[in-house]
């Protein structure tokens, strides 16, 4: 058996932290009660554990625990936020504003709302990946009820100016939703000062378990949503369904650990990311995708000129990374995010997303640099196009 590839795909998912796993386990076995059971201690202790987790999630983002609704993950949170707010406000207006580089969980939900009769504006971004607040303000109309902008892009890691965009929304009486799936635990979030009404989160991006997430729903000023899941009236009626205590405890613990570790972890991770970029940018014709400054510390997205995407990935079988070629066939669309930055199809296909995490070591980064350089150089050596490029220069 060959050794497992070096994992540099923490933006896709993370392993469950050992502390998180330990916190979760009792709630699967001896403490298995239903948090909704009010008649005995099995239920009471599960309820208390859920509320403790709610506190932990709220503390990480500067919110009140009462503003946290547990869901199955960021996709559900995005669906609940967008459909719930749109349906609630439909009588006031039917216009929604979002951005063309949002995650599919937002874009596809917006498409569904369009099908239901809402009108959606998809704003473009600059070549840096950043949204221009003036263009955002200009897109808001009197009938705009809702806007949705991701805090951190999942592919290129750029950070939007959420505070500024939120101010614009508040002044125009537009409900502002933020998809923070890629931001949680990666940058300081303070909903006490950010004018955000709804915010989606996911546990498995922050060393928690898969299958659990949360939606922040602001109390002051109060935001109302129409429930999308009906049943026993759990989570204040916003999201019915028996609470998965172990999952929720896992998310709470993951958030507690993130809050604790962030001051030390983020600079360490950024140093590793910068080391990776330094090593890769020594190659010819390497392009960074997205702004380097307004960026989460763990993300690096790079395109390699004159290298074909499928061969790049096939050559890098010692690395677990994401690719901008959604599929290997040229007939398939490359990353719509990179296309939105103005990258050519070829450069979008030949892009790699590296994301560094809690367990990444300097030795792993050096292995990644070595492997990428080796494969890129080898593919260029066999390329007739690179040969003409070199002769031309």
């Amino acid at each position: 058996m060959s050794p497992r590839p070096v994992y540099l795909d923490y933006a896709s998912t993370t392993p469950v932290d050992a502390r998180v796993l330990q916190a979760m386990l009792p709630w699967l076995t001896e403490r298995f009660g239903n948090p909704a059971s009010t008649t005995h201690s099995y239920g009471w202790e599960a309820h208390d554990a859920v509320e403790q987790a709610r506190e932990n999630v709220a503390r990480l983002i500067g919110a009140d625990a009462r503003e946290i609704i547990f869901t199955s993950g960021a996709t559900e949170s995005n669906n609940l936020a967008l459909k719930g707010a749109a349906h609630q406000l439909a009588e006031r207006g039917r216009h929604i504003v979002t951005v063309c580089t949002e995650h599919k969980a937002v874009l596809d939900t917006c498409r569904e709302l369009e099908r239901q009769g809402f009108e959606v504006t998809y704003l473009p971004v600059a070549s840096s990946g950043l949204l221009d607040p003036d263009a955002f303000a200009a897109a808001l109309r009197p009938d705009t009820i809702l806007a949705s902008v991701m805090a951190v892009n999942n592919e290129i890691g750029v950070v939007q100016d959420i505070a500024a965009l939120g101010e614009i929304c508040r002044s125009r009486n537009v409900v502002f939703h933020v998809d923070a799936a890629q931001a949680l635990g990666k940058l300081p979030i303070d909903l006490a000062t950010w004018p955000v009404d709804l915010m989606s989160m996911s546990a498995h991006k922050v060393y928690g378990p898969k299958g659990v997430g949360a939606l922040f729903v602001r109390r002051k000023p109060r935001v109302r949503l129409m429930a999308q899941m009906h049943g026993g009236g759990h989570e204040k009626g916003y999201r019915s369904g028996t609470l998965p205590t172990h999952q929720i405890v896992g998310m709470g613990e993951a958030c507690r650990v993130a809050h604790l570790e962030m001051p030390n972890e983020l600079p360490r991770i950024q140093a590793l990311r910068d080391r990776l970029w330094q090593g890769l940018s020594a190659l010819d014709q390497v392009w960074l995708n997205g702004d380097l400054q307004c960026r989460v510390p763990h993300n690096l997205n790079v395109s390699f000129g004159h290298v074909e995407g499928e061969s790049l990935l096939a050559g890098l079988k010692g690395l677990a990374v994401s690719s901008g070629s959604a599929c290997t066939s040229a007939s398939q669309e490359p990353s719509y995010v990179l296309r939105a930055l103005g990258r050519s199809n070829e450069l979008a296909y030949s892009s790699l997303r590296f994301s560094v995490g809690r367990e990444t070591t300097e030795a792993e980064i050096d292995t990644a640099i070595f492997e990428v350089r080796r494969v890129v150089q080898r593919l260029r050596e066999v390329s007739p196009l690179w040969e003409s490029e070199m002769q031309g220069s």
């Binding site: 004159h306 061969s311 959604a326 599929c327 593919l379 390329s383 007739p384």
Partner: protein, 131 residues
């Protein structure tokens, strides 16, 4: 998009044979180039022809998927030492079979077939041989 590659395909992809370039202007060299960068694959195959229409040496270069690089490498190795007529009559089938190409990879063998035919024709045109 988990891609399936045969053992031999991987072997050629990781250790391509006959990589390089002959002088295209040389009268004993035939060059065939197929594909475009926009469609994700470019393949150049070259043959050097000695007395008795024998292919004495070959070169290839490819930009594209592992299947295309392997197809170019396999082809360049396979036609070296063979007769011009044999090389010119080669189809995509033996290439696809040798590398166990899937239907999604088959177009790489077709590009290789086109490239070797163009290379043979290019040589014949230079020599004024019309067969």
């Amino acid at each position: 998009m988990r891609m399936v590659y045969s053992k031999r395909l991987i072997e050629h992809f990781e250790h391509p044979r006959q990589v390089g370039r002959f002088d295209e202007a040389a009268t004993d060299v035939g060059t065939g180039m197929t594909g475009t960068q926009e469609t994700g694959g470019v393949l150049r195959v070259q043959i050097q022809v000695g007395p008795n229409h024998l292919i004495t040496d070959t070169r290839f270069k490819a930009y594209g998927s592992p299947a295309l690089i392997a197809a170019g490498s396999w082809l360049a190795e396979a036609v070296k030492g063979t007769e011009l007529e044999y090389a010119g009559s080669l189809t995509h089938q033996p290439i696809a079979e040798a590398l166990e190409l899937t239907s999604a990879q088959l177009h790489c063998a077709l590009l290789a077939e086109d490239a070797i035919r163009m290379a043979v024709r290019n040589y014949k045109d230079k020599q004024g041989v019309y067969v």
